[in-house]
């Protein structure tokens, strides 16, 4: 098992290297100049040239890249061009916020999507199946921003039950933290819940017609044993892999959701950084996201292996 994980981490390194190169190269192609943004009103060529020189922006691109990479390997992600704060500090500040949002959204999606998928599969063609499908389709079709704004209007503005925006760390004030996060998590989770439901349903349908389910029924097991023990454990395997892939979608959704609820998270950080041509921040954030994505997939694969004895044997 440990060997398997080590092997996977080894394979992840080149992936990260390619991602960092792509990000580095691509943002150089973006229109706009960070120096202009930094200089503000004072745009005399001499000042601009001096800033450029200070930031080593006159070096060839590969040299800039290698310098940055060298820093990263030592844990130095550079400093924000805009605020002068170290990028690593910025990331450490914002990361927990987004992680909390993502985890809550994922939990929410799993709690709704997976049971709904199981019920829909067991009651295939019945009223519950139809209902679940219609709800799922709505969940997928309603845009996040619309749902978010509507919820703010209804729950915060009209009913006054929950705050419309803001953030509190879960370690400082857990209740307040959950209060501020519950709506964003719901908004972010709906689309995911719908996707999870559809996939759980189709995986369950496949498993329910398997020969070993017929065997389980022939043994006289109860419906609950057949569905939850014998079917679900097998249907879970593809769903886990999918959940890891959905993590990317989750981060993309988080950008938007954080904007709507003005949550000071990763999403907001990267949007601001891109608008300000704050190269170091963009690179740091993207690299972090890529690491997170790879880790999620690794975790999903490890869980799959643990759940699937056939794969355990292949290790």
């Amino acid at each position: 098992m440990l060997i398997y994980i080590a092997k996977r981490l080894l394979v992840a390194l080149p992936t990260l290297l390619i991602v960092s190169m792509l990000v580095f190269g691509l943002q150089m192609l973006l229109p706009g100049d960070p120096v202009l943004a930094m200089a503000g009103e004072d745009r005399d060529p001499e000042t601009l040239a001096r800033i450029r020189e200070q930031l080593n922006l006159n070096d060839p691109l590969p040299v800039q890249y290698l310098r940055w990479l060298g820093g990263v390997l030592q844990g130095d992600f550079g400093t924000s061009l805009r605020t002068g704060q170290p990028v690593s500090e910025l990331i450490l500040q914002k990361l927990p916020v987004t992680i909390q949002l993502a985890v809550m959204a994922m939990i929410f999606a799993a709690l709704i999507g997976i049971p709904a998928g199981i019920i829909a599969a067991v009651r295939k063609g019945g009223v519950l199946d139809w209902t679940a499908n219609i709800v799922a389709l709505s969940g997928l079709s309603i845009p996040n921003f619309w749902l978010g704004i509507m919820l703010i209007l209804l729950v915060s503005v009209n009913l006054g039950w929950l705050p419309a925006s803001g953030y509190e760390s879960i370690f400082v004030d857990p209740v307040r933290s959950l209060e501020t996060m519950i709506m964003p998590a719901f908004v972010l989770g709906t689309g995911l819940a719908a996707t999870l439901m559809r996939h759980t349903r189709s995986a369950m349908l496949g498993v329910l017609s398997a020969d070993y389910i017929r065997t389980a029924r022939a043994k006289g097991l109860t419906g609950r044993q057949v569905v939850l023990k014998h079917s679900f454990r097998n249907a879970l395997l593809p769903v886990i892999t999918l959940s890891a892939l959905l993590f990317g979608e989750l981060l993309a959704g988080a950008v938007l959701t954080e904007q709507i609820f003005t949550i000071p998270g990763f999403g907001k950080l990267i949007v601001d950084a891109v608008f300000n041509r704050d190269y170091a921040v963009v690179q740091g954030v993207v690299l972090c996201t890529a690491v997170g994505f790879l880790l999620m997939n690794l975790i999903a694969d490890v869980v799959s292996v643990l759940l699937n004895p056939r794969m355990r044997a292949a290790l």
């Binding site: 060997i3 070993y212 065997t215 022939a218 043994k219 006289g220 097991l221 004895p309 056939r310 044997a313």
Partner: protein, 600 residues
């Protein structure tokens, strides 16, 4: 007669279709007495499996079932699901055809057996583990205490079927329904499983309802037999009576269509199957096959020291930890117009041999000469031309045709690819080819799903015929077909051989069919040919112990000879996986008679 344990009264099962309810089983009535073995026999679509699932109440919810299923006089059809669950696994247990997929892959086998004991409260909780072990020992799973925590994929097909039987026996049911339990198994394993079922039946006095299409198996184990045809109950009788004096034409036809081992004594060449009309039961003998082989010519296929190995396992750096010695030092010739059968059990390398010869897998070493082409040394151009000379027909007629192509397109594709006929004439040529395999040219525009299994196999044959192949590798090409259809397709292959002098490498595990169609037979074991010789020599005078075992294991469709089959030991095909760098031992051969060789 004693009070029957199970009585079916006018059992009818229907499924809703677009054209309304379709009855798949009509008015079935029969009894099973305690301790008795009753076989339901019939071809695919006869409704035998539906009948067994209806007894268990396991049919799809949409099915409409009427009539009565009486277990000790209690009608199961009216029983609420909750009470029915008490019956399943407890009073009636069931084992299925597919040992590979009938066990849940994510739970250890011991847990799956234990689950049933716990569910039906047969033994106190603290004794469950001991009972599971006893059951696994009972079905003779070697080293049971070490394997109790193993997962299904770690067992072979035969061993999995033993696990299924252990599970079925756990609650000491009074009736065991066995739905084609040995069909997917090798013939020597089949014998072991049949022996086991019989032994346990005698020990526990349980009744067995045995569903099968194999008349040999019926003769071997059934006291009474129920014959079904397209959902109808044709006749029921004591097995011995049915085999000697069936009253219904269909039963006679079914029995006549069964290839029997030993019918070919004294025949010099392959023999066509008699034509059996399944509706009227009339049997028409077919013309004898003429001699098609000229051994003075150069062989059309010549294989020398062929070796094919696959990597197995992987270490930290992804290097293989061992090798599957699938084909090991194979040497043989095949002449024009000749059929050489490769026989042996699953995993013995016979399919890999067929694929290696056509270079569908890459052999490690050796030499293959096919119609003058050096197959293993051929470049892309030569390989393409070689493909015309050597073609392959596969086992599963349902998955080997592209469902989105019409039959005409399927047959035309190889002709077009190899530019054998101008585009304008392709359709005409495709119709001609269909005619050659006995299909109507008007079927060109139909899709595979509109054809039966036998017809699809004919289409697959027409597809390869378009290239005028010299050698056809037929990999279990008739194994999935019903007996009557099997006979027709074999006859077609023999017709084509007579007319076109095609040579067949006929890969099969069905010894009775092999005896009928072959000129020569090669027996494979663990990647090696252990015996090769003229068909009559192999069947009448087998020399190698494995050949003897293989022939002895074939169930004979004759109830009078029941029990003559020797009791077989529990064993399994050994593994062909060897460590890297393994040097196979040097083999010696002994010539028994003309062209008959055996490995010493």
């Amino acid at each position: 007669m004693t009070q029957p344990i199970l009585s079916l009264r006018n059992l009818t099962a229907a499924f809703p279709t677009e054209d309304g309810l379709k009855e798949v089983v009509r008015n079935i009535s029969f009894d099973v007495a305690p301790g008795e073995t009753v076989a339901i026999v019939g071809e695919s679509g006869s409704g035998k499996s539906v009948t067994s699932l209806a007894i268990m109440g396991l049919l799809d919810k949409r099915a409409r079932v009427s009539g009565q299923v009486l277990l000790d006089g209690r009608d199961l059809l009216g029983l609420p699901e909750k009470q029915m669950r008490q019956v399943r696994g407890n009073d009636i247990a069931m084992i299925f055809q597919e040992p590979m997929s009938s066990l849940n892959p994510v739970f250890p086998v011991g847990d799956q057996i234990a689950e049933l004991l716990i569910r039906h409260g047969q033994v106190p909780r603290d004794q469950v583990a001991a009972e599971v072990l006893r059951l696994m020992d009972r079905v003779r799973i070697p080293n049971a205490h070490a394997r109790i925590k193993d997962y299904p994929h770690q067992f072979s097909g035969g061993m999995r079927q033993r696990v299924m039987i252990a599970m079925a026996l756990a609650a000491r049911p009074r009736l065991l329904i066995a739905d084609e339990p040995t069909t997917a198994l090798d013939v020597t394993i089949q014998g072991q499983i049949l022996d086991l079922i019989k032994e346990i039946q005698e020990e526990q006095g349980m009744a067995v309802l045995f569903i099968t299409h194999d008349m040999g198996v019926v003769a071997e184990i059934a006291d009474r037999t129920v014959v079904m045809f397209r959902g109808d109950h044709i006749e029921t009788g004591a097995t011995a009576d049915l085999f000697t004096g069936a009253t219904q034409p269909y039963t006679r036809a079914l029995l006549a269509a069964v290839p029997r081992l030993g019918q070919m004594a004294g025949q010099d060449w392959p023999l066509r199957f008699p034509r059996v009309d399944m509706d009227s039961g009339t049997i028409t003998a077919q013309p004898a096959v003429v001699d098609t082989v000229d051994r003075s010519a150069t062989p059309v296929l010549s294989v020398r020291n062929l070796v094919t190995r696959f990597a197995a396992g992987s270490d930290l750096l992804g290097r293989p930890t061992g090798k599957v010695h699938a084909v090991e030092d194979l040497t043989f010739d095949l002449w024009q117009g000749e059929t050489l059968s490769l026989v042996g059990e699953s995993g013995c390398g016979k399919s890999t041999t067929g694929r290696s010869i056509l270079r569908l897998v890459q052999p490690e070493s050796g030499q293959v000469t096919l119609d003058g082409f050096d197959v293993l040394g051929a470049g892309p151009g030569d390989l393409r031309r070689m493909r015309r000379s050597g073609q392959m027909i596969f086992q599963d007629p349902f998955s080997s045709l592209n469902p989105r192509m019409t039959v005409g397109q399927t047959v035309a594709e190889p002709i077009l690819t190899h530019k054998l006929v101008p585009r304008a004439q392709v359709r005409e040529r495709a119709a001609e080819l269909l005619a050659q395999v006995g299909l109507d040219g008007s079927m060109l525009d139909r899709y595979p799903h509109e054809f039966s299994g036998g017809q699809r196999q004919r289409v697959a044959i027409a597809r390869v015929l378009g290239l005028n192949p010299k050698v056809i590798v037929a990999d279990e090409s008739v194994s999935a077909l019903d007996v009557s259809i099997k006979a027709q397709v074999c006859n077609l292959l023999m017709d084509l051989q007579e007319r076109l002098k095609i040579a067949y490498l006929f890969i099969s595990h069905d010894m009775a069919v092999v005896e009928r169609v072959s000129h020569r037979v090669a027996v494979m074991y663990l990647g090696e040919i252990v015996e090769i010789g003229p068909r009559e020599a192999i069947f009448a005078d087998p020399q190698h112990p494995y050949t003897k075992k293989l022939i002895a294991a074939v169930p004979i469709p004759d109830p009078a000879r029941r029990g003559l089959r020797r009791a077989m030991q529990v064993d399994e095909l050994k593994s062909p996986v060897r460590p890297i760098g393994f040097q196979p031992p040097k083999r010696d051969w002994r010539q028994v008679s003309d062209r008959h060789f055996v490995m010493v």
